[in-house]
């Protein structure tokens, strides 16, 4: 089968490897571009959120390249994203595209369905169960390595002396991971990649501002959707930490790792959880970032995202109570890079002023 999948940050490197090693042909989804979005906007419902539109465009693009099957995730609500594959399939059928979407619903909801779909992928690829498990494990290692490398790049970027060095090093490191073919090779590539990033010339005397990034998973994870906000902030000299990584759940060291805790943290502000997507997380994570001494928080969400609207309406109170500025960016097809940049620059200016005046206050005391 010719298989494709949604583009989400750098994860395509691991998914491409996975699809190919199961024994299928992989149609790698192109990074979402203006054309992707235009295609998506043309066929998607007007008020669907931007992830829907980008995915719609991506599916149409990979269909042109000959993809037969799309693998994606389902969901149990109440976020709309869990229904997207159904709607995408409806629209693709209506357009007469011969493209089948296989959506993996959360295994806890329907284990049988989950196994059936896995079985189908494995059988048609011609792998034994043991080989299949090994391939999945290796792909997971790849995702982890990719996340490690990306995280490190965001730590280093605000210190870089020559603008753009870190991003170039990041691509070099990702390329190493891309070429690795076994758990052992991935580990080596990871070490080597981290080294490449660490070797970027840095000015360690800087004391960068720290900004946390919270919000809806797709626009947080897909740089092409959020106008490379982490790189933009990094190059303004701001250190960013984002709440969501594909491998977040397995990380004990990250500031934000366990979902139950997040709900408890957010409880004084919203008594219901979950409310779909990362709505409650955005509230809880803002509180955690404030407690960890971050200078500010950026909330990223697609325009008309239901859970994030609930979060946005409650965040002003969190912001007041914890004395942490929050900038909400709702992203849609009209959002331009320059607009995002201007708002971020103003936000960063504000954070710098706050830091200075706080320092002065301390000196006076």
């Amino acid at each position: 089968m010719k298989i494709s999948f949604p583009h989400m940050g750098h994860s395509y490197i691991a998914f491409k490897w996975l699809v190919e090693n199961i024994g299928h042909e992989c149609i790698v989804p192109p990074e979402p571009s203006k054309r992707t979005l235009d295609l998506g906007v043309r066929y998607a419902p007007e008020f669907a959120c931007i992830p829907f539109k980008i995915l719609m465009g991506t599916y149409l693009e990979v269909a042109e390249k000959g993809a037969e099957v799309i693998i994606t995730s389902g969901g149990m609500g109440p976020c709309r994203a869990g229904y997207y594959w159904v709607m995408h399939q409806y629209i693709l059928n209506e357009l007469g595209k011969d493209l089948e979407i296989i959506a993996f619903e959360p295994p806890l909801c329907d284990l049988k369905d989950f196994w059936r779909k896995l079985h189908r992928l494995r059988k048609s690829g011609g792998l034994s169960v043991r080989e299949f498990i090994q391939v999945i494990k290796t792909a997971w290692e790849k995702i982890k390595a990719i996340d490690d490398i990306e995280m490190r790049s965001h730590e280093v970027r605000p210190y870089e002396i020559n603008r753009g060095d870190t991003t170039r090093a990041l691509w070099k490191a990702l390329d190493m991971i891309d070429k690795a073919n076994s758990v052992k090779e991935i580990e080596e590539a990871r070490q080597e990649g981290l080294k490449v990033i660490n070797q970027v010339p840095q000015d360690l005397s800087r004391n960068p501002l720290k900004v946390g990034i919270v919000g809806e998973i797709y626009v947080v994870l897909e740089p092409a959707a959020n106008h490379y906000i982490q790189i933009m902030l990094g190059e303004m000299g701001v250190q960013t930490d984002r709440s969501i990584y594909l491998t977040s759940y397995t990380r004990e060291s990250a500031i934000i790792n366990r979902e139950e805790d997040i709900f408890a943290v957010a409880r004084p502000y919203i008594k219901e959880a979950p409310i779909g997507g990362h709505g409650v997380n955005s509230i809880g994570e803002t509180i955690l970032y404030a407690k960890h001494g971050f200078d500010g928080v950026v909330q990223l969400a697609p325009f008309a995202c239901i859970p994030e609207i609930v979060a946005k309406s409650i965040l002003p109170k969190v912001s007041r109570d914890y004395d942490i500025p929050v900038l909400t960016l709702f992203i849609d097809e009209q959002t331009g890079k320059a607009g995002v940049q201007t708002r971020l620059e103003a936000f960063v200016d504000l954070l710098e002023k706050r830091r200075e005046s706080k320092k002065r206050e301390r000196l006076v005391v």
Partner: protein, 330 residues
């Protein structure tokens, strides 16, 4: 005795009889906000987060209207009314889930909010528990609450029976309150049958949809909505779509639409949707595609802060003309 304020929007149109009877039976006075007006909407637009949809903004406006008139605002956290959907996880729209928290943050000088959590997924008996909790907050004993609960159920049942007879909810509410008599309802003189699907707070609030139902009546079209169908009929439609939606009101609208588009005597379907409604972006496209498949005329009326009566009327008239023409040529 306390004054309990209930906003005249959202769940009001389907579940008000229950809560009115419940609070009245407990000896309280129920204060309902006046029907939606421009002033209410404007106040809502001011208070609510700007990205919210019209119904949520209007809700904020209604709540603000009750300040000074009620001792408590009754804004239950509507989570779910049944175990339904492919994974049994059906809920209300996420904005409903966070609504009590949203109004607390957004509106100043708010009286205490009764935000009883209503989640009937585990079973119908949860409703009694929710009532007990509400009664507790107002200082009532279990026995009193039980009696009020039973009375409320009976009133709601009468209301539901009226719906089953084809009486639309806003008229059924009038009948329950004694403002209108069942016999007076106009049932003749229609020559078209149009199904209107959508959320109760959009279809039955004449301010939001700029008098859509009246317009249709004037055009001699008899209106059917999903709310006059029994749950049994609605739920049967589940099997015609690959996966049911996650939201209670959306499922009702979709199932209603699916049912009506298979009925020969229904001439056309109108879906009324509020600007920037999240769930409706799915509902609308799904109904549109399914209506195409069933060769049933379909019209989407999208309403927002700026909807004008003329705009909606023009579209309705054109649609009705088209349906008449279609009927004549068959």
């Amino acid at each position: 005795m306390a004054k309990i304020g209930i906003p005249r929007t959202l769940a009001y149109f389907l579940y008000f009889p229950f809560w009115q009877a419940f609070f009245t039976e407990l000896g309280h006075q129920v204060v309902v906000s006046p029907p939606t007006t421009k002033a209410i909407l404007d106040r809502g637009v001011e208070d609510a987060v700007n990205d919210a949809c019209i119904p949520i903004k209007i809700y904020h406006g209604h709540v603000a209207k009750l300040i000074g008139k009620a001792d408590f605002i009754f804004s239950p956290r509507l989570v779910s009314l049944r175990r339904h959907g492919d994974f049994g996880t059906e809920t209300f729209c996420p904005k409903f889930l966070g609504l009590p928290d949203m109004i607390r943050v957004a509106i100043d000088k708010l009286p205490p909010v009764i935000d009883t959590r209503i989640d009937l997924k585990p079973g119908k008996e949860e409703l009694l528990k929710a009532c007990q909790e509400t009664g507790d907050m107002l200082g009532h004993e279990g026995k009193e609450v039980l009696a009020a609960y039973k009375k409320a159920l009976a009133v709601q049942k009468r209301f539901n029976q009226l719906l089953a007879k084809g009486v639309l909810p806003h008229l059924a509410l009038d009948i329950i309150e004694g403002k209108k008599k069942e016999e007076d309802l106009n049932r003749d003189g229609f020559d078209l049958n149009i199904a209107v699907v959508g959320y109760p707070y959009v279809i039955y609030d004449p301010y939001v949809n700029v008098g859509l139902l009246k317009l249709l009546e004037k055009e001699k079209a008899r209106v059917y909505t999903q709310d006059i169908l029994s749950n049994k009929i609605l739920n049967k439609q589940q099997k015609y779509i690959p996966k049911s939606l996650f939201w209670y009101f959306s499922n009702r609208a979709v199932y209603g639409g699916l049912y009506f588009m298979k009925q020969k005597d229904i001439d056309g379907i109108i879906h009324v949707t509020a600007f920037a409604c999240g769930p409706d972006s799915m509902v609308d496209k799904l109904l549109e595609i399914e209506c195409n498949k069933h060769n049933k005329p379909y019209l989407t009326v999208s309403v927002d802060e700026h909807s004008g009566e003329a705009g909606v009327r023009t579209r309705i008239e054109a649609f009705v003309d088209m349906l008449r023409y279609r009927r004549a040529t068959r």
